[in-house]
Amino acid sequence: MKGRPEGVAAEIEARPVVLEIDGVTHFFGNLRAVYNFDLELHHGELVGLIGPNGAGKTTVFNLVTGVYRATRGSIRYKGTELVGLPSHEIIQMGIARTFQNIRLFSNLTVLDNVRIAYHPHAGYGLVDSVLHTKRFREKEAEMAAEAQEFLEIFGLGERRNDIAGSLPYGLQRRLEIARALAANPRLLILDEPAAGMNPQEIDELMDLIHFIRDRFDLTILLVEHRMRLVMNICEWLTVMDFGEIIARGFPADVRNDPHVVEAYLGRQAVEIR
């Protein structure tokens, strides 16, 4: 099947399709960053995209979120074509993402970071903003309460007035995920969420990812380097190298796939066994 491995449970296959990437190719000048990439995600799946450095994983994410426009191919979210749409519209449709290198609004408070993500759903307009009408005050209070609830869920409630850039690294990661979820997405794209984390922090992150998927009813696609995370958490994997898909399947199968071992896993795969 295109974009999916064989043998996924029929129950999952029956769920609605959330993301459909179909034959996407992207060039940077003459460099072929992504070639003929297919992927199909069903509702509620937690899927990984792995590959060595420079394989084109983050480029795929950037294509989905409209940072780049795919040279060829089609990307559909719940049936709507995304290629050519500006990022903010794609995000407002229900896709959220985090970044490989954390990109918080680092001079603003923790609370403001989350509240900014509410902006598209603020529910009041420019006139309300300028006049601070009753509607403005109500919606602001609502927004503040919701944002606070979010922060509490992520264990950042006490830190609401801290400057985001001053938080410890692990909490910054967490805040970034909280901010992404504040936009109320159905599909969450995590770009190397475990970068720079120690094994214990990775364990916490795994709990966090499972927790948010269940709590917010999400479909999650994640790019990751750390085998410990990917092998334990993802339901199935797509492996890329030099912009092309070289393998696809369940973690156990991918781990033993000779192409993958050769291209990427090598020593680490042996280590896991």
């Binding site: 979120t65 420019l126 007035n161």
Partner: protein, 422 residues
């Protein structure tokens, strides 16, 4: 005592006291025309600088175009009143009807363009420019003969004092609106195409405006502006209440805007444009909004200044002058409204007031040597600006109060596993 008041009450109290004190001093004659001029000028430059602070300090778009919009506001409103006092309502009608028509067309156009997929920047720009030309063409050809006599008749019924104030208000609003329209049209291509070129493009804008003003009587069809000789005969209608009300309006509008979700969107663009876009903020919109609002402030200030001076000269809007608001904003502290307000007045006071009085006769031009020195010292000693990010309580972005625990059972439903919990 002020500390115990609610910030808004304290702000209003202080504002009223300042208003009354200055008004009394002006009425009694303790503040002569010279000092009156300095206060009014300070207020105008403060409004211009607040606009720039919104664009540069809060939205992060480095702009040198502020004086261009200041000039548009000044000349437009001056032209309206110049014509009015000579019995010609055409300026008033064109500015008002043209602005309203243009805004209406913009609304229709934006709804229309939204239906298409992937409209390029330049296409949108072209459409908006055409809409603007259409609006003002209609205003000149249709509205003037139609509405001109109506305006004259209606305002003629009122006592002269009242009608004069109404015309002045409309002229100020018209000048500000024209500055806003100009910034909107200019902002569409320039803000969307990339911020690196924005500073240079705005500098170019200021220069273009200056050249146009030099040639108002030849290239542009405004003989009354007298090109490079300077426009004379503008009624001197600016009074302290007008100055105070305008400045207050600018401060409150800017403060309210910044304390809203729109303001947070504007600030997020400064912090990290890409990240803002990827949490769903329409970055282009936020930039254009900040740019237009900032320019409207400048346009309003232009009207105030023009009707205080009663004389306008293109030289006072050249690009060297356009560094003034930039210096004020940086000096007061980027993204500190308090800093901009204090520094704006202080700047004019220093440059045109104190230094002129302190320096011996014949050495007045030396003040242009003294102020770069002050600036240099300042940059060395306190690079974040005098006020840094300090704001008085009224202007401070306070965090909302914690919601009560009762309606906050989100955490109880199950929080993220914490360190140590596992």
């Amino acid at each position: 005592m002020l500390k115990r008041m609610k910030p808004s009450v304290a702000f209003i109290t202080v504002g009223l006291v300042v208003f009354v004190v200055v008004q009394v001093l002006l009425s009694v004659g303790l503040l002569n025309n010279y000092w009156r001029g300095i206060i009014f000028w300070g207020a105008a430059i403060t409004m211009v600088s607040l606009g720039l602070n919104l664009i540069y300090g809060f939205n992060g778009q480095f702009s040198l175009g502020q004086y261009g919009f200041y000039a548009i506001g000044a000349y437009a409103s001056a032209d309206v009143t110049w014509r009015w006092v000579r019995g010609d309502p055409s300026g008033l009608v064109v500015v008002l009807a043209g602005t309203l028509l243009a805004l209406g067309l913009y609304v229709l156009l934006s709804a229309f363009l939204r239906r298409f997929y992937g409209v390029t920047v330049m296409t949108r720009f072209a459409f908006y420019v055409l809409a603007t030309i259409l609006a003002f063409a209609i205003a000149v050809t249709v509205a003037v003969p139609l509405l001109g006599p109506v305006f004259t008749a209606v305002l003629g019924v009122l006592p002269a004092v009242v009608s004069q104030q109404i015309v002045f208000l409309l002229a100020l609003l018209g000048g500000a609106a024209l500055a806003g329209i100009a910034s909107f049209l200019f902002g569409i291509p320039v803000l969307e195409l990339g911020s690196d070129y924005f500073g240079i493009a705005t500098l170019g804008f200021t220069i273009i405006i200056k050249v146009l003003l030099d040639n108002t009587d030849t290239i542009l069809p405004f003989p009354e502006m007298k090109g490079a000789r300077g426009m004379i005969g503008i009624p001197q209608w600016t009074t302290w209440p007008w100055v105070f009300a305008s400045l207050l309006l600018v401060i409150v509008v800017m403060r309210n805007l910044l304390h809203s979700s729109v303001g947070r969107a504007i600030v997020s663009v400064r912090e990290d444009e890409r990240a803002a876009e990827l949490v769903g903020i329409d970055v282009t919109n936020a930039k254009i909004l900040a740019f237009v609002v900032g320019s409207v402030f400048a346009g309003l200030a232009g009207g105030i200044r023009a009707h205080d001076l009663a004389f306008l000269h293109p030289q006072s809007f050249n690009f060297i002058q356009s560094f003034n608001p930039l210096i004020i904003v940086v000096f007061g502290g980027l993204s500190s409204m308090t800093g901009t307000i204090v520094t704006g007045f202080f700047w004019i006071l220093l440059l045109e007031g104190i230094l002129r009085l302190v320096l011996p006769t014949g050495f007045e031009t030396w003040r242009l040597v003294v102020y770069p020195l002050i600036l240099l010292l300042m940059m060395l000693l306190r690079p974040e600006g005098v006020f840094g990010r300090y704001e008085i309580p009224f202007l401070r972005r306070a965090a909302p109060p914690l919601p009560s625990k009762a309606d906050n059972d989100g955490a109880a439903k199950g929080g993220v596993p914490q360190e140590g919990a596992a």
